[in-house]
Amino acid sequence: MMFIFYRLVILIGQVIDGLMTPVVGIFSDSTNTRCGKRMPWYYSGFVLMAGTLVFMFQPCRLCQLFGESDLMSLLNYGLFGAITNIGWAMCQVSHMSLVPSISLSRTRRDMLNNLRSNFTFIANLSVLVLAAIFFKVFHDNKVEFQILTYTTVTIGMMASLFFIYHIRERPLTIACRKLAKQYRRSFLKLSGAGFDADLSFSSDSPTKPGNGESPRAFEEAP
């Protein structure tokens, strides 16, 4: 028996992920709800992913329902893998594109992105450490994988729920807009007072913001 099925399962997941990432990006740009632009995508992606990821590391559930066959096996893992990857892309894109919505400061945006990458490493490391522990403790591969998946997904879900509880996009975006207005006011006041307008905060901006001309940060404000 060739290993074509396993290749297919992995390939389907990756292809779906690759397709969905730009699609989610395009559609979330034109989304505007009362929860914000990006958060609805995060919510739905979170539900999709958390709901289906555990089925990837379980015996073929559809086979138990509809009878064993190679095709059913492929359908089971392909389908759950595809849904997981759709949710994955939705979460990833919306989480990443949330940064410009909730902060105008370049420094703070960088800080948020750094924090995000740090937690990527921590997540990878903790999965590997958990796997090492479980593989030592349990001696049945099936049990190991189920417990590993459930533990990881539980920790991840708690983290995501913490995020969902604390980050409300719309108030933060509105606050940003107000702060930008205030910033602009004080900026204009200072320029009006006769200081030389040498702004260091947007050094990579092509046009130096002068009197009556808004710095780039304002234009990026949602």
Binding site: A50, F57, Q92, L98, V127, V153, A159, F163, L172, K189
Partner: protein
């Protein structure tokens, strides 16, 4: 429309200092001003918001292929009987 109460603004350092009379401020001070309403806990919450994704990716890329081939083979002949990982 939402007003200040709905937005739940938690801006500890008001920006108005810059425009209030009597207080001197230079352009260099401008970028010390807060440009978002994120509290520390919200920054942390943002950081861990991607944890599930990263954990899922780690599971997927490290273990899925092994799981499919060795633990739940679609065809029993595919399993190469590596036995338990612990053993």
């Amino acid at each position: 429309m939402l007003d200040d109460r709905d937005t739940g603004l938690s801006i500890k350092e008001p920006l108005m200092e810059a425009t209030s009379p009597g207080l001197r401020m230079s352009f260099q001070d401008l970028h010390k001003l807060r440009l978002d309403a994120l509290s520390k806990i919200q920054v942390f919450a943002y950081g861990i918001g991607h944890f599930l994704n990263d954990a899922a990716a780690a599971l997927w890329f490290n273990f899925l292929l092994f799981f499919l081939v060795e633990v739940e083979p679609m065809n029993p002949h595919d399993a190469r009987k590596a036995g338990s990982l612990a053993g």
